[in-house]
């Protein structure tokens, strides 16, 4: 049975699938899994989004707090602190304990992507320069891991930022205190949000978009490209086998196409405010 081969000789079975230009779940090599985005599910958070791609799902919740900027920090800029967790419940290979290297790397990459894309101007988060600024704690929890968590996490983060509504706050200079009205809320003004597409590489030439969990384990290398509007904000190929320039060009083209699909999905979601499903 194909199930036995998957346990005993997964590499051989997968190579046979690739020869037929198909993947074990029936997708074509350049097809991504069905992606669903739901915004605003968590009422205790100021902004939230749940994003699912195949069996990988990530929930993002943003809570806003006010802080005094430290003396060595810029006085008129707020902060965004993304943090991705890969808890033991998302996959049986993860154990309970402190954040793994994968989780910490991914959190750092999310912050880097937000900065590079310029989607969020930090001066928007300033209430009173030097006295009070907003801090956005973006907590992402991976609820189910079946490959390609970074893309899904970035989509959830972007969707949650569009869902975020900050309470109105003003600094009373005479009394030197903060007045916050939690009932009055305004959305953020956002630039082009970063959206990523990951491809797995087999046999140095075959590219596979949106790898599932077992494909991620078997691949020789993986390339992540992130786009914000028309500009590329991240090109990441760490280690693995070498890749020709022509293959790299194909990666970039495929990822651009995928990021346009994701952007369309996110725009529909923002307009309708409901669950959006896309390919």
């Amino acid at each position: 049975m194909a199930a036995d081969m998957r346990a005993i000789q997964p590499e051989s079975l997968y190579k046979l699938h690739l020869e037929c230009e198909e993947r074990p779940d029936g997708r074509k090599l350049d097809a991504a899994r069905t992606t669903v985005v739901t915004r605003g599910g968590i009422t205790t958070a100021d902004g939230s989004a749940f994003c699912r791609s195949g069996h990988t799902s990530v929930l993002c919740g943003i809570k806003a707090e006010v802080c005094t900027p430290a003396t060595d920090a810029p006085p008129d800029r707020g902060w965004v602190v993304p943090n991705l967790e890969l808890p033991a419940l998302c996959h049986h290979r993860f154990r309970p304990g402190p954040p793994s290297e994968a989780a910490q790397t991914a959190s750092a990459q999310l912050l880097q992507l937000l900065d590079a894309s310029g989607a969020l101007d930090r001066t928007q988060l300033c209430i009173e320069a030097g006295q009070a600024v907003w801090v956005l704690y973006c907590d992402l929890i991976c609820l189910s891991h079946d490959g390609n968590v970074l893309d899904v996490a970035l989509l959830a983060l972007s969707a949650a930022l569009t869902d975020l509504r900050l309470p109105s706050a003003e600094w009373d200079a005479t009394e030197e205190r903060l007045r916050v009205k939690p009932a009055q809320r305004t959305p953020l003004k956002l630039g082009p949000l970063p959206l990523a597409a990951t491809l797995a590489v087999f046999d140095k030439e075959t590219l596979v978009l949106d790898p599932a969990g077992d494909e991620e384990m078997l691949c020789e290398a993986s390339v992540t490209v992130a786009w914000a509007g028309d500009s590329m904000v991240l090109l990441d190929k760490t280690g693995g086998c070498e890749l020709s320039l022509e293959a790299m060009d194909r990666c970039i083209a495929l990822s651009k196409k995928r990021s346009l699909e994701l952007k369309k999905l996110l725009d529909c979601c923002t307009q309708s405010g409901e669950v959006e499903k896309g390919e």
Partner: protein, 254 residues
């Protein structure tokens, strides 16, 4: 980085407002009524068993992996060991819970151990020697009665995973306010009144768990336990219906 100044306030409510003279609570329920329950089994295909449960605004996700080979430290030669972890999302509560959520703090570890004791009374561990069953519970939104919802979600996830159980474990929170017993507290009521969490095995009528906070008068305890037991049986009816619906939907798909 910066010093904390403000977080969204949690407004405490006085006991007079929690229960009106007509016997209505803040969310319009009567004293003995449960909150609206929504549950789904098998939400994540990759885990052996999973369940999503909502009781009012409290939302909990439970996942079960196993039975699988136990790690050397936890391996017992004649029975399975159950490993539970309780995690609360940082954005789940109303209070500022910056790093107090997550898995590492003491309250989370205490609740994990409590969940393990509760589930050990109902899982047939003799059938899976040298194995380990991992139960992970993640609180996505907390609005009172959180631990009881976790126990219910864990039961559903174990049933979805096909782990042999003696019975369901159904839990509910209860309290007494101005001599009136209440069930299934939300977060406003929890802050204003003492809380009792009880878990019940419906077929045998036994209580594997009883946890209490603050102070109760001992005269009230008997009445409170009866009310809690009735509420747990109501929870059992709801969970049972959901399980049967899930099984018939699954078999009609085949």
């Amino acid at each position: 980085m910066c010093a904390y100044m403000w977080a969204p306030p949690f407004s405490a409510v006085s006991t007079m407002e929690l229960l009106s003279d007509q016997g209505l609570r803040v969310d319009g329920r009567r004293a003995h009524e449960l909150r609206n329950v929504e549950c789904r089994l098998g939400v994540f295909g990759r885990a052996d068993g999973s369940a999503y449960l909502e009781q009012g605004n409290t939302r909990v996700l439970a996942t079960v992996y196993g039975p699988h080979e136990a790690r050397a430290a936890q391996r017992r030669h004649d029975v399975a060991s159950i490993n539970c972890q309780y995690r609360q999302a940082v954005f789940s509560g109303w209070e500022r819970g910056r790093r107090a959520g997550g898995g590492g703090d003491r309250r989370a570890q205490e609740l994990g151990a409590l969940l393990q004791n509760t589930l050990e009374s109902v899982v047939l561990v003799e059938l899976y020697p040298r194995s380990q069953i991992d139960v992970y519970v993640q609180v996505l939104q907390a609005d009172g009665g959180t631990y009881a919802t976790c126990v219910n979600a864990a039961t559903l996830a174990l049933i979805d995973a096909g782990v042999a159980l003696r019975d369901y474990v159904c839990a509910c929170s209860a309290s007494v306010l101005r001599d009136q017993p209440l069930v299934d507290l939300n977060s406003l009521e929890t802050s204003g009144a003492p809380e009792l969490t009880a878990a019940l095995l419906p077929r045998s009528g036994r209580l594997p768990l009883l946890e209490m906070s603050q102070r109760f008068h001992v005269d009230k305890l008997g009445e409170l336990l009866d009310v809690a037991e009735t509420a747990c049986r109501d929870v059992h009816t709801i969970l049972n219906r959901a399980v049967r619906r899930h099984v018939s939907a699954r078999s009609s798909e085949k």
